[in-house]
Amino acid sequence: MDWYDTLLYLHVLAAFILVAANVTAWAMYVGTAGGSRPSPLVRMAPMGGLLGVVGSLGVLIFGIWLAIYVKGYEVWDGWVLAAIVLWAIAGYAGTTLGRGYEAFRAGEAPAPSLALHLILSGSILLLLIDMIWKPGA
């Protein structure tokens, strides 16, 4: 396994972890019926937050590292810049969701909205499409 393989594996593994954080958020949303009823599932909020931080940072760090390392890709390529913008949107939605579920768990705020869940899932889906099609590469 060479250095490229290692970076690619860590990048993809981080993406899997990010999706696990997204699924955790959906599980809490469904389990609480959108925040309309209490559920022990909100005890997963710290795990979801941790998965989100590890996954999103891993995706960004190893992704940029790959773009620098691989001959033929550049960090300023359109599809890489699009990925960074989508990552920022996913990061905003994920961070807000994580804080929202922690506050909901403590009884300090209502559950996060459906729109935030959709924004997180949509941005991750677009990231995956961008990574596979690599438009302009």
């Binding site: 993809v12 699924v23 389990g31 022990p40 795990m47 995956l128």
Partner: protein, 156 residues
């Protein structure tokens, strides 16, 4: 430094479905494992709700995502022109982890369903089936971490 390899565009849709299905399946497995851990450690109504949810996420989260992942794997396998003769080693790892994984997913789902039913009638009773189901989800997660390594690094 490594050179980029261009993939034919017609492989992209099956690859998206394969990778996307695998990601959702693994995410749902992580949630199922966490919910089963919480179920083992809980009592009363919380335990009933957690046991029921673990069964549901295995049945309507993990299994459908597995079908998407596995179906798309066959699709891209045929597009890449493999025939079964002298296939590279990483394809074998993929087949072993996915086919053996399906068996473990089915066993884990059945056990979680039986455990949920038993816990509903006796919320504070023993939970051996929940524990076995939980252990299987952890085995599956470990197997898929290896599968992701094989799929990305493609050892020959």
């Amino acid at each position: 430094m490594s050179l980029l390899v261009i993939r034919p565009d017609e492989w992209n849709l099956p690859l998206l479905l394969h990778v996307g299905g695998a990601m959702v399946m693994c995410g749902a497995l992580v949630v199922a494992a966490a919910v089963l851990v919480l179920a083992v450690r809980s009592t009363g109504d919380d335990r009933v709700a957690l046991a029921r949810f673990s069964f549901r996420i295995l049945l309507i989260g993990v299994l459908p995502a597995y079908i998407v992942m596995r179906g798309a794997a066959e699709w891209i396998y045929s597009k890449e022109g493999f025939s079964g003769d002298n296939d590279p080693g990483w394809i074998g790892i993929g087949y072993i982890t996915s086919d053996l994984g399906l068996l473990l997913i089915i066993i884990s789902t059945v056990l979680a369903g039986l455990a949920a039913r038993r816990i509903r009638t006796n919320p504070d009773g023993p939970s051996m089936m929940t524990r076995i189901s939980m252990a299987l989800t952890f085995v599956l997660i470990a197997a898929y971490v290896v599968a992701v390594w094989a799929m990305t690094t493609k050892p020959s």
